[in-house]
């Protein structure tokens, strides 16, 4: 016990500390033990180290109930095995619960990704990722009242691009507040968000928020609302599959896309909104520049237009409603047949009018509205002088529009069920061909009710007649019963008319591009059924394709030889005229062989082109039929031209 008080081993107590803890073994331990025999400083140090430990050890004897705590975490760790990895946008996220994947890099992409998970215990704290690191971005995140994610908060000084993607969710972006980006998830039915909902926030390049659901029945689940508060100058890109997207603000421009969800754009001066079958709602400030496209959804535009307004609205089969204030110069296009205008007196069929231009005095903003088979409604706040489409040639306008829209989606005019699909992709169809047979659910229900009514009325009528014979009923009663029966029968007529509407016929010749409808499908007004491509929109080289014959075919009619037929050909014979030839005209020449067939029953004929009219004429081509058995004036055929 003689070593100096300033023994190096005692001073740096770590060796003795390990010795006290029993972590020193073998030769080192023996050496230390020997040293302790002689070193006072080390002995004292060991004593201190032991007392230290004893203080902590005493404290550690206090026991507390922890099963409650287990009960809280148990549900969060239960589904571990079932849900593992999802890769989105190159990021890998693993989660047991609803997940936030936050990559905080700002403009410095070197930062490590931070993985945070929303826990489910009430008011459980969720990790706050690392301190603000990038020069442009800091993050504050809070998750409360879990399970699920209530709110994420970003603070940003830049003007990032914000991208939101959702599968089967609802996306709502509110960019009216400045300086913060807040992401919140909320179920619209206020139920907790379960672990099948995933959120991914990626800000490596702008801010991307992706929300998706891993459960099988998410599509039917109550919607999730994702709230995102963004700087007013942010550019926003919102994409969703079967989700609703709502974007509010964002002067930096908005691109919003969804497959079947609804799009809501508000207070944005610059946007593109696209949806396949969803509707689009626009509530715009003045001088907006925007584009809204939907295949079968409804487009509604409210708000202001302003002098520098430039708006394009396009829909294939959806309706368009404009109730924007201010001077609007509207290009309004719609294809015949189903285009209607809602007026004060109700719905008015616009018939063949394909293109109507409204203009106002002053320096108007500009809006283009196009629809193929939808409904266009313009609520005219300002007096508009009609620079009307009636002045233009409707057929020419229609042709021009059809050429501009070679692909046409045919949609259901009713709510109901697909009974029968009569065509497949690749089929060539002719104008008027029935493509899909629908059944209106209202019609079906009503028809069944009316039929039951008729049967009951009929039975009662029969009964009264028998009773009358027995003297048990008066002629008045019989007449009354008969009247009821007739009223019931009369009600069937409008139902039959409805049944007519339930047929989808080809509005023009063409090729079926895509068939979405399947027998048994439930459809609503506007559901896309079949995509039809105009026959003459096919490329000229189609003659060499396997469907070449179809491409070289055109509808034609048996006509009487009249004075327009060149005198040299005015001999006896049956002639067929085809109109219009469209693109086929370039391939048709005098002397060309033509095969013809009638539809039902199918009979085949052969002929030769005897005349090709100048384009201004009504008839494009005249064909002399070689052996016209049983062909009569007015018969319709399909003429197929020899490729040579």
């Amino acid at each position: 016990v003689s070593q100096s008080e300033d023994c190096a081993i005692a001073k740096d107590e770590s060796t003795l500390d390990r010795y006290v803890a029993g972590e020193v073994e073998g030769e080192e331990q023996r050496e230390l033990a020997a040293h302790l025999m002689t070193c006072t400083a080390c002995v004292r140090e060991v004593a201190r180290l032991r007392r230290e430990r004893a203080l902590f050890a005493e404290r550690a004897t206090i026991k507390e109930e922890t099963s409650m705590m287990w009960d809280k975490i148990a549900p969060q760790i239960a589904p571990r095995a079932s849900r593992r990895v999802a890769v989105v946008g190159g990021l890998v996220a693993v989660a047991a619960g609803a997940l936030l994947f936050l990559r905080l890099s700002g403009t410095a992409p070197t930062n490590a990704p931070v993985l945070a998970t929303a826990t489910q215990a009430p008011s459980a704290a969720v990790p706050v990722p690392s301190e603000p690191s990038g020069p442009h971005l800091s993050l504050k995140m809070r998750v409360r009242e879990l399970p699920g994610i209530e709110r994420l908060e970003y603070t940003t000084s830049g003007a990032p691009q914000i991208e939101v993607e959702s599968v089967a969710g609802e996306v709502a972006i509110d960019a009216t507040t400045s300086n913060t980006v807040k992401v919140s998830l909320q179920r619209t039915d206020d139920q907790p968000i379960d672990e099948s909902w995933w959120v991914l926030v990626d800000d490596r390049d702008g801010i991307k928020v992706r929300v998706w659901c891993t459960a099988l029945d998410c599509g039917h689940a109550p919607k999730i609302r994702i709230g995102l508060d963004v700087p007013i100058h942010a550019k926003i890109i919102a994409r969703a599959v079967s989700a609703e997207v709502a974007v509010h603000g964002g002067d930096g421009g908005i691109v919003a896309k969804t497959d079947s969800g609804m799009l809501m754009i508000g207070k944005a001066r610059n946007f593109v909104a696209k949806t396949v079958s969803g509707s689009i709602g626009l509530d715009t400030p003045a001088n907006v520049k925007g584009e809204a496209k939907t295949t079968s959804g409804q487009v509604e535009w409210a708000g202001l237009c302003g002098a520098a307004c430039e708006m394009k609205i396009k829909t294939v089969s959806g309706g368009v409603e404009i109730s924007a204030d201010g001077p609007i110069d509207v290009d309004w296009k719609t294809v015949s047949g189903r285009a209607r205008k809602l007026t004060d007196d109700g719905e008015r069929d616009l018939g063949k009018v394909a293109h109507i231009v409204h203009s106002v005095t002053g320096d108007p903003g500009h809006a283009t509205v196009e629809t193929v088979s939808g409904r266009v409604t313009i609520d005219e706040h300002e007096p508009m002088s009609r620079n009307a489409g009636e002045k233009s040639e409707p057929a020419a306008e229609l042709d021009a529009f059809e050429k501009a829209h070679p692909e046409l989606w045919l949609t259901s005019p009713i709510r109901g069920t697909v009974r029968k699909v009569l065509v497949a992709a690749g089929d060539h169809v002719h104008k008027g061909d029935m493509l899909v047979q629908l059944e209106s659910s209202a019609e079906r229900a009503e028809a069944m009710a009316v039929e039951a009514e008729i049967r009951a009325a009929d039975a009662q009528y029969e009964q009264y007649r028998k009773m009358e014979k027995l003297g048990a009923a008066t002629p008045m009663q019989v007449a009354e019963a008969r009247g009821k029966l007739e009223i019931a029968r009369a009600r069937l007529a409008p139902l039959r008319a409805l049944a007519e509407r339930a047929k989808i016929v080809a509005p023009r010749d063409g090729v079926v591009r895509e068939v979405l409808a399947r027998a048994g499908d439930k459809v609503i007004e506007g559901s896309a059924l079949i995509q039809l491509r105009a026959a003459d929109a096919e490329p000229a080289s189609a003659a060499s394709s396997e469907n070449g014959e179809r491409e070289r075919s055109v509808r034609c009619d048996v006509v009487e030889p009249t004075d327009w037929l060149p005198s040299t050909e005015a001999a006896a014979g049956i002639y067929v005229a085809a109109f219009p030839l469209g693109n086929l005209r370039r391939q048709v020449h005098r002397g060309q062989r033509v095969w013809m067939k009638t539809d039902a029953p199918i009979r085949r004929f052969e002929g030769t082109v005897v005349h090709v009219q100048p384009s201004s004429a009504q008839t494009d081509v005249v064909i002399k039929v070689a052996s016209p058995r049983d062909l009569a004036i007015g018969d319709g055929l399909t003429c197929t031209f020899d490729p040579k």
Partner: protein, 200 residues
């Protein structure tokens, strides 16, 4: 404490000692065995909670953070390469959770648990509960250390992590562990005075 039977197999019992069993349980938990994870929870929850109590100095916050620690540890079990490093892994997770909680508290001064003097009013829940002078003393002494040193010190003295384990849990190089522990001890002893120095 245990409310479930131990998931002991013949294999595990052969291994004998508690350390080996813990190793087994970590391996099982990593393979998705919920009962094994429950076993680990039961064994370590009190320590984790005490550790978080020392760091956060707030009983409710510590409870909340302890829950989060186990949830997160469970989720990240796959990242634990060596089953023997379970405790460094667990306490490292707890420490990260506590840092996040403190940061959150600092950012939101309205949060109740964030009132700085609350820790002073209730310096040490366990100690206050039992009214033990030594515990109150220890709590006061720990309070004089800065957060990092306090964490390292209690990992060493209370939770028995070795130097490598502390380095792992704190994310420090091993040399720093030695240094920080030394400084922490100097301060702790100064604060505790006679409790450590004894009568001598």
């Amino acid at each position: 404490m245990m409310t479930q039977p131990l998931p002991m197999t013949a294999d595990a019992s052969k291994e004998g000692g508690p350390v080996d069993l813990a190793l087994r349980q970590v391996e099982r938990a990593r393979g998705g065995d919920a009962a094994a994870f429950r076993w680990l929870f039961d064994r370590d929850v009190a320590g984790v909670r005490r550790f978080l109590g020392d760091l956060l100095r707030d009983r409710d916050a510590a409870d909340e953070a302890a829950q989060e620690t186990f949830v997160r540890a469970h989720r990240q079990l796959g990242e634990l390469r060596d089953a023997a490093r379970w405790r460094p892994f667990l306490f490292g997770t707890a420490r990260r959770v506590s840092l996040e909680a403190m940061r959150r508290r600092a950012r939101d001064p309205r949060s109740l648990e964030g009132t700085p003097d609350r820790a002073d009013r209730r310096p040490d829940p366990e100690g206050a509960l039992l009214g033990r002078e030594s515990d109150r003393m220890l709590a006061r002494a720990l309070a004089t250390l800065d957060e990092d040193r306090r964490a390292a010190l209690v990992l060493r003295l209370d939770h028995g992590l070795d130097y490598d384990g502390i380095a792992e849990a704190m994310g420090w190089p091993p040399a720093k562990v030695k240094n920080e522990l030394h400084r922490a001890r100097v301060l702790l002893r100064a604060a505790l005075g006679d409790y450590i120095e004894g009568e001598s």
